[in-house]
Symmetry: C2
Subunit: 151 residues, 2 copies
DNA sequence: AAACCAAATGCAAAACGTTCGCAGCGCGTT
DNA sequence: AACGCGCTGCGAACGTTTTGCATTTGGTTT
């Protein structure tokens, strides 16, 4: 599988995540621990529903929403949008801004990470031509994975 | 390889759109006419709510949803997703597959169309490496427009 | 032109992901 | 151990989108 991920970044330990929260005057609670553990165990963007059920529903769904919202603000997780109206989250490694893209199978939702970002220099060009500032982008790829092609 | 902007494509007339519908065993009804007229009058992706209010609410909101869904299936309109959970639709011109991208102001939602598609050759590369087939992509740019920078 | 039928509409209700208000619980501190 | 604020769970509400169903309407046939 050509998913190489971003292993140039060191993943954060749970205790470091706890320290990060406490450093931000936030509490390291049971639900937040559960959410972080689930995210740490999954290398790909997860839906909130999946995070919730992976915690064995130890905590409320609304709490998972709030936890992920907080973690996003603290830049410990990154939100991805695959265009289906369902938010997905990935735990960020140390020093990773989370800017990367995915290749998603439209049949089975299998996800492969794409490490290159091809459009960085283009942001400058677009900013220059349009007069826009702080230009960013969202880019995701879609296709049919080898397994689904056989079916 | 940059893709051609869509203003090189001839826009469809209402009567041609009517013929297209009828050719697909679909009816050219009042609501569908209203929706098509609204879309034809706006060069940028429109939310369903906006389409609905521009028709002066002559037809039901649910009907606008159904009309746009049908038109999307018939490839007469294209759906865009700006990551805010609200679908946007653009009328396609003749021979236009609608593949292009946008630069969206995160403050005022002003939209600029980007004509080049920078990632076409990359789809091939990605398909080759991953074994995926029928690889497409979604790409949108975000930034702050000149007007909003002044505020 | 009238009748016909499937397709399309309006309306209301529901489904969906997500957010919020609030009473009470628990983490980190004193 | 006790305190206080932040956090949680629960239910209700939100906004977008979908759906069920009785009624209407477009396109076709008599």
């Amino acid at each position: 599988m050509p998913c190489r991920g971003h292993h140039h970044h060191k993943p954060r330990s749970l205790s470091e995540l706890a320290a990060r929260l406490r450093g931000g005057a936030k509490k390291f609670t049971g639900p937040r621990k559960a959410v972080l553990e689930v995210l740490a165990a999954h290398p790909h963007p997860m839906t909130i529903k999946d995070v919730h059920s992976e915690t064995k529903s130890e905590c409320d769904l609304a709490t998972v929403y709030r936890a992920l919202h907080l973690l996003e603000e603290m830049e410990l997780v990154k939100r991805f949008d695959f265009g289906d109206g369902i938010a997905r989250f990935e735990l960020l490694a140390e020093g990773d801004d989370g800017h990367h893209h995915h290749l998603i199978c439209t049949e089975c939702s299998d996800i492969i990470e794409i490490e290159e970002c091809f459009t960085e220099s283009l942001e400058e060009k677009i900013a220059e031509r349009s007069g826009f500032k702080a230009v960013t982008h969202k880019l995701e790829f879609f296709g049919i994975c080898p397994d689904c092609q056989k079916r």
